[in-house]
């Protein structure tokens, strides 16, 4: 059987020189993302904004969206979004946070239920009060920062500070682009989005580290090689792996996007963008070339190893 081979053996792409294109592109994209974030803003879900969300289904084609709208407008609940989803008579109703503290939010569900009656199926009802939503938001932000910090510390111990710094700049770039993406397409930003961001972060790092690992190995092995050539070789020799893993993760995510259902749709879409489009690109075109600017040379590793770890060096002696 002839096996599928996506990346040919011994590719010699000059990824490092490509940084003259990829860095400006990334800078531009980051600016676009930031502008989108500050002008359009994120489409905060009720997790972070507070308020009420109801998902109801009208049986047997009895849905009359205009009727629903007029019934709900009569309640005078302030900002109410009504959105028909699918073709099964399902409606998503979002009511903005009410003035008047926690109990005012609770009253909304009762009013809406009374207005729509018992003939409809209430598939999902969520009410988040002002206090909880504020806490969830600060938890989310703290969580993201904590994760980046912990990973930085780990990388610093395991590699060198240049690598830790390179990885976190790349990380930051991933998060900025993904948040920009969510702002531009106004994807619901809720708790699962924070989960998506953290996973993107973890995944992109995973990718970056595989390449960094190789760079570290090469630095120890070829003491005389110029840095850019060394980086290029490292990326090229891990390229087949990067692409194949990329494909498998894409397949898994595609299944989630297509069949995973609406409840995790914004999660899957965000992951798709972050992991498939940004994560891998970052590892290859940003994280690795960055090391040149951060002053990684063969000396870096030599200094770290010094006299220690003779055993490890023997184990890593070149094959040829």
């Amino acid at each position: 059987m002839r096996l599928l081979r996506i990346v040919p053996d011994d590719t010699k792409f000059d990824f490092i020189r490509f940084r003259r294109i990829s860095f400006p592109i990334s800078a531009l994209l980051s600016i676009v993302a930031l502008v989108a974030f500050f002008t359009l803003g994120l489409n905060f879900g009720i997790d972070f904004k507070g308020g009420t969300l109801l998902e109801v289904r009208y049986p047997n084609q009895t849905l009359n969206i205009g009727d629903v709208r007029s019934k709900l407008e009569a309640l005078e609940l302030g900002e109410v979004q009504i959105q028909e989803i699918g073709s099964d008579g399902e409606v998503l109703i979002r009511v903005a946070q009410q003035p008047g503290g926690e109990s005012a939010q609770q009253a909304v569900v009762g009013k809406v239920r009374a207005a729509l009656g018992d003939q409809v199926e209430y598939r999902r009802v969520e009410v988040v009060g002002p206090r909880v939503s504020q806490e969830l938001l600060s938890y989310g932000i703290v969580g993201l920062m904590l994760a980046v910090f912990c990973i930085l510390i780990y990388l610093w111990f395991r590699f060198e500070w240049q690598f830790a710094l390179g990885a976190s700049i790349a990380n930051f770039h991933d998060i900025v682009l993904t948040i920009g993406f969510m702002a531009i397409f106004q994807i619901d930003f809720d708790l699962t989005s924070v989960a998506a961001l953290l996973t993107i972060l973890g995944y992109s790092l995973n990718d970056t580290i595989v390449i960094y690992d190789r760079i570290r190995e090469m630095l120890r092995r070829y003491k005389k090689m110029p840095t850019d050539e060394l980086l290029n070789q490292s990326i090229n020799s891990t390229l087949s792996r990067s692409v194949i893993t990329h494909v498998t993760v894409t397949l898994a995510l595609l299944a989630l996007v297509l069949f995973g259902g609406r409840a995790i749709h914004s999660f899957s879409i965000t992951m798709m963008f972050g992991v498939v489009l940004v994560g891998t690109y970052t590892s290859i075109f940003i994280a690795s070339p960055l090391l040149i600017y951060l002053g990684v040379t063969t000396r870096t590793m030599a200094e770290k190893d010094g006299a220690e770890d003779k055993r490890e060096q023997r184990a890593e002696r070149p094959a040829r």
């Binding site: 059987m1 096996l3 081979r5 926690e102 109990s103 609770q106 009762g110 239920r113 209430y122 598939r123 999902r124 009802v125 969520e126 009410v127 988040v128 009060g129 206090r131 703290v142 969580g143 904590l146 994760a147 912990c150 990973i151 780990y154 990388l155 708790l191 699962t192 924070v194 989960a195 953290l198 996973t199 972060l201 973890g202 995944y203 790092l205 995973n206 580290i209 690992d213 020799s237 087949s240 792996r241 194949i244 893993t245 498998t248 993760v249 894409t250 898994a252 995510l253 595609l254 299944a255 989630l256 297509l258 069949f259 995973g260 259902g261 409840a263 995790i264 999660f267 184990a315 040829r320």
Partner: protein, 532 residues
């Protein structure tokens, strides 16, 4: 790297198999599950987003705890001063403290000593940290009692514990299956009721403090007059539930309180056929109620629930039997709920609903269906791609990933963890990432072979080098999952659990199972050429 001792190989296979088999109890029928020995009674719990149900978070307000403490201090101060025969005026709550003016200057020091006894050590007398929960100070002839903030915090925690008990009793009365009631943080209670579709009755039941008291109605003043001036000392104005509400002047002091009830049941009044709640007092309550009714024949008394007058019957004759009934134009459901509330007892402070999420059974079933669908499609697509790329080694990878997924579910069952829809997404994602460890190994083997090694030597070196990388890259991803678990709640935590477990099992299968399968193949085939 390729050498496996028999024992290690056996241990690997047995461990993987046992982990996968841990899923079996979750698949059994409830009857078969119950017949298992207790150490096997571990199963995956479906999250509310998959099985449908209500999730409610209740909050104990510190301001309410402070208010309740101030009211208690005020009542205690009144009793203490009366017992000590100290003349005072203007005993009331001023902001965050209770203040009282002592009439005679020479009594002030004695009163201060007496009132100091009201301050209690924080955490009870046993856990004496030496800190008192109330500051008692004197400024001239004014004495103030101020609860300290640490004291209020301690009381809040206590109030949460008491409330959990009462919430549990109330919910148990609803007859729902397996409700879960847990403390969340220092001042919240998280309630999960699987299968509950409309939590409005539950919220109504939990939203009431249910403080019941029987108090005399003060007939010396007309309520309308009292509204315009001030109610007499020791009384307050409370309203009935009628529309429009009728005001009553009732004494602040209760004849008997809800704590003295032993039982409450809904029933019908034999004369009017109207739903009522019948109750029985304990011996203490019965005696006090008997005494009070004996002394006040002909006067009305008010039955007060949460500062609302339910009814105000006139005492026609002394009630000595220790039982009675409450009527108040109830519907059958209202009478039922009131009986539940009275049986379960009063909450120490009101609870506030701060978050509510309810998923109907229809959406839950849809979510399970789409989760299963996505898993199957994702797994098949990845498996097909891996076999197309790596042939026989691809089959090894697929087997390893299959065992990996089995182990994830086994571990979930063993931990009794909750599986949510994002949790299923975590499994699907793990499938995508788990094959990465195989890809890393295989690509490295190919590289080593290209560098001129013999097949066996290339495979050996490929494993050795790739495993170091696998460890490094997975530890960083695991850090992200751990943070997610720590900060997340509900569905997000469900994702973090499966994702985190998935990373551990991925590393495990890469280090053991994949290596074992490849080494068995190498021993059997003695390959001259790497087949990938």
């Amino acid at each position: 790297m390729l050498y496996f001792s028999k024992w290690k190989a056996l241990a690997t296979v047995v461990f993987s198999a046992v982990m996968c088999l841990m899923i079996v109890p979750s698949l059994l029928s409830p009857a078969a599950y119950d017949s298992l020995p207790s150490f096997l009674q571990r199963k995956i719990v479906l999250g509310l987003d998959l099985q449908g149900g209500s999730y409610i978070v209740l909050q104990v307000e510190q301001s309410e705890v402070r208010k309740a403490r101030l009211e208690m201090l005020r009542d205690d101060a009144r009793r203490v001063l009366r017992d000590a025969r100290v003349g005072y005026s203007g005993l009331n709550i001023q902001g965050d403290s209770v203040q009282v003016r002592i009439r005679e200057g020479q009594d002030a020091e004695a009163a201060l000593t007496q009132l100091r006894t009201l301050a209690q050590p924080i955490g009870g007398a046993l856990a004496s940290s030496g800190q008192l929960d109330t500051d008692v100070t004197r400024d001239g002839d004014v004495i103030s009692l101020t609860p300290t903030s640490t004291g209020i915090q301690a009381r809040t925690i206590q109030a949460v514990s008491q409330s959990i008990e009462i919430v549990r009793k109330r919910i148990d009365q609803l007859g729902t299956t397996e409700p879960s009631i847990q403390r969340q943080g220092s001042d919240r209670i998280q309630v999960q009721v699987p299968g509950l579709q409309d939590p409005s009755r539950l919220k109504a039941l939990l939203g009431q403090t249910a403080k019941l008291s029987f108090r005399l109605v003060d007939m010396s003043v007309n309520p309308q007059q009292a509204l315009q001036t001030r109610p007499p000392a020791g009384t307050e104005i409370l309203y009935s539930q009628d529309q429009p509400p009728v005001p009553y002047v009732v004494e602040q002091r209760a004849l008997v309180q809800g704590e003295d009830l032993t039982d409450a049941q809904p029933s019908f009044d034999p004369n009017t056929r109207e739903p009522v709640v019948t109750f029985r007092f304990n011996s203490n309550g019965a005696r006090r109620f008997a005494e009070a009714t004996q002394q006040n024949v002909g006067r009305p008394f008010a039955i007060v629930l949460d500062n609302q007058v339910i009814s105000a019957p006139v005492i026609r004759e002394p009630i000595t039997g220790g039982s009675g009934q409450i009527s108040g134009n109830f519907t059958v459901q209202q009478a039922n709920d009131l009986a539940i509330l009275l049986r379960a007892g009063a909450l120490p402070v009101p609870l506030q609903v701060v978050e509510e999420r309810t998923v109907g059974p229809g959406l839950g079933a849809d979510s399970i269906r789409s989760g299963v669908m996505a898993s199957i499609v994702g797994a098949l697509a990845v498996a097909a791609f891996m076999i197309a790329t790596y042939g026989l080694f691809g089959v090894v990878a697929v087997l390893a990933v299959a065992v990996n997924v089995g182990m994830i579910f086994g571990a979930l069952a063993m931990l009794g963890a909750t599986l949510t829809l994002p949790g299923i997404a975590g499994v699907v994602l793990t499938v995508g990432i788990a094959v990465d460890s195989n890809v890393l190994i295989y690509e490295r083997i190919r590289e080593e072979a290209r560098a001129g090694r013999s097949a066996i030597s290339a495979i050996d070196a490929g494993f050795t080098r790739a495993l170091a990388t696998i460890l490094d890259s997975n530890i960083t991803t695991f850090i992200a999952a751990a943070v997610l678990f720590y900060i997340g709640s509900g569905p997000v935590r469900g994702f973090a659990i499966t994702f985190g477990i998935g990373i551990i099992t991925t590393v495990f299968t890469a280090f053991t199972l994949t290596r074992l399968m490849v080494s068995l193949w190498v021993r059997w085939k003695r390959p001259q050429r790497v087949p990938i």
